[in-house]
């Protein structure tokens, strides 16, 4: 095969995306690529023969521990080495963060070191911006959870007072009240009761995930515990729950039980009239996660309503038809998301629903 000319090698050298410096094992610069001129601002001639540390700010040199720079990686490179968090200095004195890949080479029996230097200012900036927004987001989230927790806790107090006095009024003065007044009392009592339930659920919801410890969890056990918890519901409805083999997961067991419980009891609650509820559970292994499906033969959900059901306190039916505050599926979504997964539903009105969720194989 025809070999390249000397000029062609020079061009290849210059074409490298990183600034490339070749130095001897004591760190004396032998040659540099054009990219070095570009990012450091020195003409090639000014660098040749200089010590490679010439391109590192003095204060940074002092800060670098001896064993990394002098005796260690830089001048005694045995193998490919990447040095991060280095700072370099341009001709105009300005400094910028770099990543350096060092590689020992042998040319004509002599040892050399090549250093591929990459300006990582942009990357660093992006990482730090990302970190900042992530921190801000986490802070906001914590604040919000804290807020919901405190608010719901403090709301309970006056509500208890209302409840107590409505009860007292009914007990002690019920006899002298007209029918209309009794009706008013009834409305107050009902509203207070509903508010109490809403606050209770809000509290539970905001608590979810606080101090949630993860461990290896056997989903077969989760299902057994779930079925025990809702034993009376299953017996009274005659529901049949079938499950295929279920995996072990890295998860919070209490939360998983709550997730299973919400999905199964929903399937029963929203069952068709005069039809025995049947729930089939299966788990399918994917590359990075397990996909669970809870399939039922219930009343189903209209397509245009399906996106609403995971929102807190959203209900599709009147309270007279189906009781509840509308917390269950919001809880499910929070649990799944705390495990790094997602939850969705496929359904058709009158033809049952299948709830799907994913949980990572190993999520921390």
């Amino acid at each position: 095969m025809e070999s390249f000319s000397k000029e062609a090698y020079q061009e290849l050298f210059d074409a490298a995306p990183d600034a490339v410096i070749v130095a001897d094992i004591r760190g004396k610069i032998k040659m540099v690529s054009s990219k070095v001129e570009q990012i450091f601002g020195y003409p090639k001639e000014e660098l040749t023969g200089r010590d490679i540390t010439f391109l590192v700010p003095d204060h940074f040199m002092r800060a670098l521990s001896e064993n990394i720079l002098k005796s260690g990686i830089l001048f005694d490179v045995k193998e490919m080495n990447r040095v991060q968090d280095l700072v370099a200095r341009r001709k105009d004195g300005s400094e910028f963060p770099v990543e350096v890949s060092l590689r020992p080479i042998r040319i004509d029996g002599k040892h050399w070191i090549t250093a591929a230097i990459r300006d990582v200012s942009e990357k660093k900036k992006m990482i730090s911006e990302l970190k900042n927004s992530l921190q801000a987001l986490e802070r906001k989230n914590r604040e919000l959870e804290q807020f919901a927790y405190i608010a719901s806790h403090d709301l309970q107090e006056p509500l208890h007072t209302i409840n107590s006095f409505v009860q007292l009024l009914g007990q002690e003065y019920g006899g002298c009240l007209e029918e209309e007044a009794k009706k008013y009392l009834h409305f107050i009592e009902k509203a207070a009761g509903r508010m109490s339930a809403l606050i209770h659920d809000l509290l539970e919801y905001s608590r979810l995930g606080q101090k949630a410890e993860m461990s290896e969890v056997d989903c077969e056990e989760v299902l057994q515990s779930t079925l025990q918890n809702i034993d009376s519901l299953i017996k009274s409805s005659g529901a049949k729950v079938e499950a295929g083999p279920l995996p072990h997961l890295w998860a919070n067991k209490t939360m998983l039980i709550l997730l299973f419980q919400n999905l199964i009891s929903n399937a029963i609650k929203f069952g068709k009239k005069d039809v025995i509820p049947e729930i089939r559970i299966r788990a399918e292994e994917q590359k990075h996660f397990w996909e669970f499906a809870f399939e039922d033969n219930g009343i189903g959900i209209e397509e245009e309503q399906a996106n609403k059901i995971f929102i807190i306190f959203q209900r599709l039916h009147s309270r007279a038809e189906y009781e509840g505050t509308g917390i269950g599926l919001a809880q499910c979504r929070k649990i799944v998301e705390l495990h790094g997964g997602r939850i969705w539903v496929k359904s058709e009105a009158g033809r049952g629903s299948t709830f799907y969720f994913t949980i990572g194989k190993r999520h921390k």
């Binding site: 009706k183 409305f187 959203q314 009147s318 007279a320």
Partner: protein, 137 residues
């Protein structure tokens, strides 16, 4: 008060709220008939039923936003499709607990909505609503 309305439709899922609204309406003696729908779907069905019977639709609709099933906004979308076939358009006023400015703004952008009143309904607020309705007609 001027001539009574033939029919007012209250759309709200809360029994107590409907009770109060009905009471206020009776107090201002505004309508000959008060109809109650517990959610958007029920309200649409009621309007369709009026259509089928060739009966006039309600002149005034007080509409809650947050309801199970079809909420206030979704009701309005369906109402739009129905409107052309109705004998006359109703004055729709949002009556809601929402103090969210986004909701107010959203309501202001919907042609059919003539007002945005916060719960609970009072005689004074009802008079405001009546003025709105009369202004439209």
């Amino acid at each position: 008060m001027n001539v009574k309305l033939k029919c007012v439709l209250l759309v709200d899922d809360d029994e107590a709220v409907n009770f109060i609204n009905e009471m206020v309406l009776k107090r201002v003696d505004l309508a000959e008939r008060i109809e109650i729908a517990e959610n958007g779907m029920e309200a649409i069905r009621y309007l369709e039923d009026r259509l089928e019977k060739g009966a006039p639709p309600p002149e005034l609709i007080l509409l809650d936003i947050n309801m199970p099933g079809l909420n206030g906004w979704e009701f309005l979308e369906k109402y739009r499709q129905l409107k052309a076939r109705l004998q006359r358009a109703a004055t729709i006023v949002m009556l809601t607990t929402s103090s969210n400015p986004d909701d107010r703004l959203r309501a202001a952008r919907i042609e059919e909505v003539k007002g945005f009143i916060s719960k609970p309904l009072t005689v004074e607020k009802m008079e405001e609503i009546v003025a709105l309705h009369r202004g439209e007609n």
